[in-house]
Amino acid sequence: MEWWHGLVEAVLPFDWAQYDFMKNALLAVILITPVFGLLGTMVIQSRLTFFSDVLGHSALTGIAIGVVLGMGDPLWAMLIFAVVMAVGINLIMRATQSAPDVVIGVFFAITVALGVVLLSRGGQFNKFTTYLIGDILAVSPEQILLLVIMLGVVIAYWMVAGNALVLISISPVLASSRGLLVMLVRTSFAVLLALAVTLSIRWVGILLINSLLVLPAVSGRLLARSVRSYCGWSVLIAFVSGITGLIVSYYWGTSSGATIVLFAAVFYGLVVLIRQIAK
């Protein structure tokens, strides 16, 4: 991490850039936002916004399971639980033929209720509120390594399955007639989403993680004409909102995750305005 700290100090002669926690947070934002920008494009395109919201909220139960099992850091419990949820929702949707919102809504209720019940035993819930709004300033070098791996995995996945995701989103039957393994692609995307969301919960917070996924992609969609520009705009908007939000949150003394999401929302407002004027 030394080289990074040195680099930031050399390049960014600002007040906030003196602190190691800000340097780490900056690196985390640089790594997380492209992941969310990319994943967001296909969350919107595949109409999975409610699904990804459940994945974020499933962290409550994941944390609770970790605590019940006596884990100091519930990250692995959260990751495993989120993956189980993602696969479970997919399987149940296929088996019951119910509307997706219905199945997802049921999972949403169960996972939040169960998580809150377990975490609030003996009036202890206050200990976990940090997970609700997140704390990007607490990111450690080891955790940054996980984010590097995540970014690598998402880019590799996009190289392999990006085309399949596009085709499946517009016609699963057509995709399968071209030899694509629709169920495998859908499930693997859900799992990847579960991993990315869960890994970032601690920095962005349960309440707003889905907004970080959705807002940049929604703005990008309004600006883009092609798949490439869609991904490009979404990543760019996520990235710029992330950096701006982080720095501004330092001066405002506010939650970084929420400030980042607020900037993403400002971008969305601007894009809508520009579109209206352009008409």
């Binding site: 990319l38 494009t41 395109q45 996009w158 190289m159 990006g162 085309n163 399949a164 596009v166 085709l167 989103s169 517009i170 016609s171 039957v173 057509l174 399968s176 007639s177 071209r178 990008g220 969609r221 309004l222 883009a224 004409r225 092609s226 798949v227 490439r228 520009s229 869609y230 991904c231």
Partner: protein, 263 residues
């Protein structure tokens, strides 16, 4: 326009044998037997709920069935046919940022379209789209296309590479007459130029009749199977669909048509 005679080898065929599809106690398809030769353009017609789409889905491998679907190329070993499929519609939002070339490259190529469409792929796409009078649509978004344009773009992708069996699901839905005539002529030319069988599921009996070799009336099971004129003239077709006789068929007496209308 009459479709010209086919120049295919006539040795490849797709056989559907003793095909059943059941959903619990419900029988959706009951003992379907079809023998489709290459170079043959078959229209699959029938009332709503007759199982037309279910049969297509079974052939596509999307629907569990009992029985057999085999393809035999030039007297070779039976295999699964290489299928091209043109869906009835796409799940497209009005703002979906997917261009025609994105769609084509994502379907046909292996390079990820989120990194852009290469010049080489663009040429391949342009050539394929030109064949279906859609070359000028390359950079348009899918959601901006008319029904007829979208059908042609889907057709271009479905025949890249050329399949052994081409399935067209309700191409008439949401397409105007001019667009439809163009589409039927393109499909006709395909089966004339290449060794492939084509099945077209449609409600547009009158429109499709002059272009097809064969018409199959389906209602859970095959009711009538023959030349379009025979099928269109068949009493059972009119009973099932409750429509007056269409092009190319003998008209029933007025009193008969009247009776049907009242019943």
């Amino acid at each position: 326009m009459e479709c010209p005679e086919s120049a295919s080898c006539g040795k490849c065929c797709t056989r559907v044998m003793g095909l059943f599809v059941r959903l619990g106690d419900l029988v959706l398809l009951d003992d379907i037997n079809l023998h489709i030769h290459c170079g043959e353009l078959t229209a699959l017609v029938g009332p709503n709920g007759a199982g037309k789409t279910t049969l297509l889905r079974a052939i596509l491998g999307e629907q569990a069935y009992t029985g057999k679907i085999v393809f035999r190329a030039k007297g070779g070993e039976p295999t699964r046919p290489r299928v091209g499929y043109v869906p009835q519609h796409l799940a497209l939002d009005a703002d979906a940022p997917i261009t025609v070339q994105d769609f084509f490259a994502a379907s046909v190529g292996s390079q990820p379209v989120w990194l852009g469409v290469s010049g080489k792929m663009r040429t391949v796409a342009k050539d394929a789209l030109d064949k279906v009078a859609a070359g000028h649509l390359l950079r348009r978004r899918l959601s901006e296309l008319s029904g007829g344009e979208l059908q042609r773009v889907l057709l271009a992708a479905a025949i890249s590479p050329m399949p052994e069996l081409l399935l067209l699901d309700e191409p008439a839905a949401g397409v105007d007459t001019t667009g439809l005539t163009l589409f039927y002529e393109l499909v006709c030319n395909l089966r004339r130029q290449y060794d492939l069988s084509i099945i077209i599921v449609t409600h547009d009996l009158a429109g499709v009749a002059p272009h097809v070799d064969r018409m199959v009336l389906l209602n859970k099971t095959i009711i009538v199977d023959g030349k379009p004129a025979e099928v269109l003239g068949d009493e059972r077709l009119h009973k099932l669909l409750g429509i007056p006789l269409a092009v190319g068929a003998e008209l029933p007496s007025d009193s008969e048509a009247h009776r049907r209308g009242e019943s």
